[in-house]
């Protein structure tokens, strides 16, 4: 049969973000494939070297478009590790509320995004409607819907507004009451299961070979390898939650784990709202005016558990300048997005390529940073 060259994306309902998968197909079986990034390269790593530590706060959320809060958290943690600043207790709890709300929103978006390539659009509408409620809550807390710039080195920018607990509780109760509905629409849907079951397998050897983290890894190795558990940051060691795992990683299993994580997120936010103490929310990381802050010399790698895996910032300060000397971003979907598509996508069918991109959470902005 003749070999054809096909493109998936950048304009395609199954493609997330501005990247493209080049595929050589025979019939509908992929013979060779690779990801073509670079359509969204904005030079963040160079840009951060040319901005002061404080200016960078407004630059970093743009690294990952759909999940900006992990960027702020990783950057703030890195600066705090370099300066050895202790964050106020209340700020830790506010950060956890923000991070978990963001995790719910991105899991909903990934789950709804599954509707694009598979044609299950009802799922997408429901998920995006709920995500919109979370964005409304974010708007009340931070003043912004997408790029919050709320978690800053030394704490959070401002205290929570009065009465926001009511909004958050109302949303969580609403989401919890419709949780079975979500399951019935997607992972328990008899007409949908054949489409996502037993496709896009991810065996344990492949996980270790590529360096996949997050949901992909936990669904394959059957161990609770979650950074919130193994090296707790903020106050994750003081809340109770489970890490859903599995030992058979197909597309359905990974989606299922994302849904189960939603329930855990709801539990964490409720515990946070219960345990949150009163007090200040921000301390300066260095004396003097914020534009002239300098940070002691050192190399530090700060990482957080994003919805897609280990997301980290590698930061170098030379101790003299008001700018970072070098900032490197470890994108959580770098291994499965580039090497995974090149090595393990061939052999599957064309229509499953979009499932790989969705269930592995390949995010092109963090590849082109």
């Amino acid at each position: 049969m003749r070999e054809l060259k096909l493109f998936l994306g950048p304009q395609h309902p199954g493609m997330h973000g501005n990247a493209s998968v080049h595929m050589f197909v025979e019939g509908d079986i992929i013979k060779k494939s690779y990801l073509l990034p670079g359509m969204l390269h904005r030079g963040f790593e160079k840009g951060m070297e040319r901005h002061t530590w404080v200016n960078n706060i407004s630059l970093i959320p743009r690294v990952c478009v759909v999940e900006p809060d992990i960027n702020e958290m990783a950057f703030a943690m890195g600066v705090e590790k370099l300066t050895k600043v202790e964050v106020p207790e209340r700020a830790h709890w506010i950060r956890m509320i923000i991070l978990e709300l963001a995790r719910i929103s991105i899991h909903l978006m990934a789950y709804g995004g599954l509707g694009g390539p598979t044609g299950n659009y009802t799922l997408m509408y429901h998920a995006h409607a709920d995500r919109n409620t979370i964005l409304n809550i974010f708007e009340k807390i931070t003043g912004h819907r997408i790029y919050h710039q709320y978690i800053v080195p030394g704490g959070v920018r401002k205290d929570l507004p009065i009465g926001i607990e009511k909004d958050i509780h109302a949303f969580l109760d609403d989401l919890e009451s419709r949780y079975t509905e979500y399951r019935d629409l997607g992972v328990e849907n008899a007409s949908f299961i054949p489409r996502i079951k037993d496709t896009i397998m991810l065996p344990e050897e492949v996980v270790w070979e590529l360096g996949v983290t997050g949901v992909g890894m936990r669904s394959a190795v059957n161990k609770p390898y979650d950074l919130r558990k193994v090296m707790p940051y903020a106050r994750y060691d003081q809340v109770e939650f489970d890490v859903p795992v599995s030992d058979y990683s197909d597309a359905r299993c990974r989606v299922d784990i994302k849904l189960k994580e939603l329930v855990q997120c709801i539990g964490i936010i409720r515990q946070c709202l219960e345990k949150i103490p009163e007090g200040p929310v921000r301390v300066p990381i260095a004396p003097g005016q914020s534009m002239r802050w300098t940070v002691p010399a050192g190399h530090v790698y700060a990482c957080v558990e994003s919805s897609r895996g280990e997301f980290g910032y590698y930061m170098v300060s030379d101790g003299k300048d008001t700018h970072p000397y070098r900032v490197g971003v470890r994108g959580a979907s770098y291994p499965q997005g580039l090497l995974g598509i090149e090595k393990y996508l061939p052999g599957t069918r064309i229509d499953d390529a979009a499932l790989w991109i969705d269930t592995m959470g390949v995010c092109s902005p963090e590849i082109d940073r």
Binding site: P37, G38, H41, G43, E45, K46, R50, K81, W208, E209, L210, G211, T213, K223, Y225, V230, M231, G298, H299, V300, Y301, C303, E310, G312, Y314, V316, Y325, R326, G328, R330, Y334, P335, L338, L339, I367, D368
Partner: protein, 196 residues
Amino acid sequence: MNSINNVEYVSNVVESRFTVNKKEVIDQYQVSFEVKKDDVHQILSILKLEGWIQLSYLSAIDWIAENEFEIVYILMNWEKPVHIQIRTRINRENPSMDSILPIFPGCKYYEREVHEMFGVKFPGNPDYHKQLVLEGWDDMPPLRKDFDPRAYSDAHFSKREYSETFVNINDEKVSKQKKRLSRKERILNVKKGGKK
């Protein structure tokens, strides 16, 4: 629980076998070693056997004043949760570092990116010289410190000219000095608590 022991364990593994130029314990979950270029592959292999089977990050830093590049490898072990930074310095003139592809297959694209952004060669990696994100790049690798983005864009793109002139709708002609004075007055007023 026993994470301090983990850092000590790593230090034992590395320091008993190799010369470490500089060791830094950042916190209970992270430790960094500066080692010689020739030891890197052996250290990474031994650490992989000890359980640090995940390569989390690979990148480079341009130390232009010392005329050196620094290559960074970050490893992670999920059973003994410690991030290990292995750093080594290489010469900035004609930089080259043997690939770690046989040890960590996941490094393939990281090395390609470092080659594209810093110009470090990785013999042993079959694809390191291919372009990844910068299509048709014709200048020096962009993350080097002597690359100036402003000069690059001035040379490559024409200056944009605006046809419409800026019009002040309010048509107020208040000088900057007057504005500054009135602001100072206001601040003084507030300091005095509104009293004259």
